[in-house]
């Protein structure tokens, strides 16, 4: 019970901070922040595709207003935001690493995909092959290898 209340308090605190900072932000900085949010959204889509729920993407980009490096970049005169595609990809990975919900969402989607691939590979084998491989104790290793191959093929595309 305490944990839930602590979580709710932390969430309210975060929302309050976001609202306070955005309410007092000058328009020029708000414009720059909107650009950064857009770059971050594109980078998240590029790196993770549809593996992160849109609500979580929204949550992460909203939270950028509290990030010290973002605040410093939009108002401090020294732009330290990434300038290349790779830099933005690393930024997106950092965002997900700092958001436990997004990490869980990615892991869940990966597990779901792996299970679908596993079922697909198993259905490609004939029942005789499946039984003989299961008796040899090589079925799991074979399927795992096939799943890894297909995952890598997906990444290469």
């Amino acid at each position: 019970m305490t944990d839930i209340q602590t979580y709710i308090d932390a969430e309210n605190d975060r929302q309050g901070r976001i609202e306070r900072v955005s309410a007092t932000m000058p328009s020029s900085q708000a414009q720059r922040l909107a650009e950064i949010k857009q770059y971050a959204e594109v980078a998240l889509a590029r790196v993770y595709g549809g593996r992160i729920a849109p609500e979580l993407v929204q949550r992460m980009t909203d939270g950028l207003i509290l990030d010290a490096s973002v605040l410093c970049s939009i108002g401090g005169g020294v732009d330290e935001m990434p300038q290349s595609e790779d830099g933005w990809d690393a930024f997106a990975k950092g965002l997900v690493a700092s958001e436990p919900l997004a990490q869980r969402c990615v892991e869940f989607n990966d597990a779901k995909l792996k299970e679908a691939l596993r079922q697909d590979e198993l259905s490609n084998l004939s029942p005789q092959q499946r039984i003989s491989m299961a008796r040899n104790d090589s079925l799991d290793a074979y399927v795992e290898e096939k799943i890894q191959q297909r995952l890598e093929d997906r990444l290469d595309r």
């Binding site: 007092t24 605040l71 410093c72």
Partner: protein
Amino acid sequence: MNSVLLSVDDLRRGTGWGQYRIRSMLKLPYPLPFDQAPTGPHGGTKARLYRLDDVLVRCRLKPSFTSKQEAALLRLAQQKLNET
């Protein structure tokens, strides 16, 4: 998520304001939450460390806070961020 904590001394350097103005800004209308820096080898008062976003909001609410002061404060925060 990167975060920077600023002490009253950092705020004095960043804004150019005196310590009394900064202290009243941090305490009114309600005291801002703060962390405490660890004490040094000889003990002494633990410095209060405030979050950058909290401090920025309070500063922006002061009519005398200019964009130049804001830029200076953010540059100082960036230096601290790069140091850590």
